[in-house]
């Protein structure tokens, strides 16, 4: 089985050679989703992970609208789902920022109690004092 079939189901690939249509929007949404996935997995900061999740939700919204526009242009069902998703994204963002504020309060680093030698490597010290670093969650007492 070929991983990259050049012509299947009447869909000529690469998409650059086909007229503008649904596959192009889906490919763009997939690229956006991949960027969001990378951001959510590669960053250690809670805020950056939240932003990655927002990007992934945006890609999903784009998919819904594209499917409705190209496959079912007279319907509004995909749009209804997208509205629901917008609501979800806003709530997620608001709750996420509120959580970040709480995290900052509960894991605020006691700067004065840190040993001076521990502050020498700046990057390591920054990670240790960053209240939004997900690696510090083990220190929390829930």
């Amino acid at each position: 089985m070929m991983i990259f079939p050049m012509q299947t189901s009447g869909f000529a690939l690469p998409i650059l050679h086909s007229p503008l249509g649904l596959p192009h929007v889906l490919t763009l949404a997939a690229a956006l989703f991949a960027l969001g996935l990378f951001a959510a997995l590669a960053h250690r900061s809670f805020l950056r992970i939240l932003m990655g999740l927002e990007l992934m939700l945006l890609a999903a919204m784009l998919n819904l609208v594209a499917f409705t526009s190209y496959l079912h242009p007279e319907g509004l069902q995909g749009h209804a789902f997208t509205l629901l998703l917008i609501l979800l994204a806003i709530a997620q963002l608001a709750v996420g920022v509120a959580l970040a504020a709480q995290l900052m309060r509960s894991t605020r680093a006691p700067q004065s109690s840190r040993a001076p030698e521990a502050e020498a490597p700046e990057a390591a010290a920054q990670t240790e004092t960053d209240p939004l670093n997900v690696d510090r969650y083990d220190e929390l007492r829930w």
Binding site: S18, F38, R44, L62, V65, Q77, L83
Partner: protein
Amino acid sequence: MDVVIFTILAAFMLAGGAAMVWLPKPSHAAYALVGVMVTAALMVAWLKAEFLALALMLALAGGTALLVMVGLPLLSRLSPLNPSRPDEDRSFWAGIVAVLFLVITYRVLATTPWGAEDHSRLALTDAQRGLEAIRTLGETLRTEYALALMGGGFLVAVAIAVAVALNTSEADA
């Protein structure tokens, strides 16, 4: 003309997304995210869903911009927001997962009839049957459950307001 518009919007979205991932300052990354959202709203308008584009622009992009302008300065008052780049250890595996996702998506696109120029070919496929289910669900959501949807939105708004109020009172205390 459509190709030019799509190319410009796609380039802006991808550049904004990449900037969001790699810009070190959280505030800059958040502004890049707002840019991506505004471009996505324009893309949705280009897909002939103007009402949804407006909702996306006002609610999501506007809400995110508001949170960026109000939330991040408030957070930085609690503790300075450290600049951060993708972690080197995690980047390798995150890159592999992202590329794997793209390969799987490419594979799905290549083997489904969604790319067919003649969409009437979808009439007898499983994709169409799945679409029927989504249509029924969406129709129900839009009609019979509209009240529940609005009620849910209201409850979410109340929850957000209470969360903000609790945070504010705790901060004052």
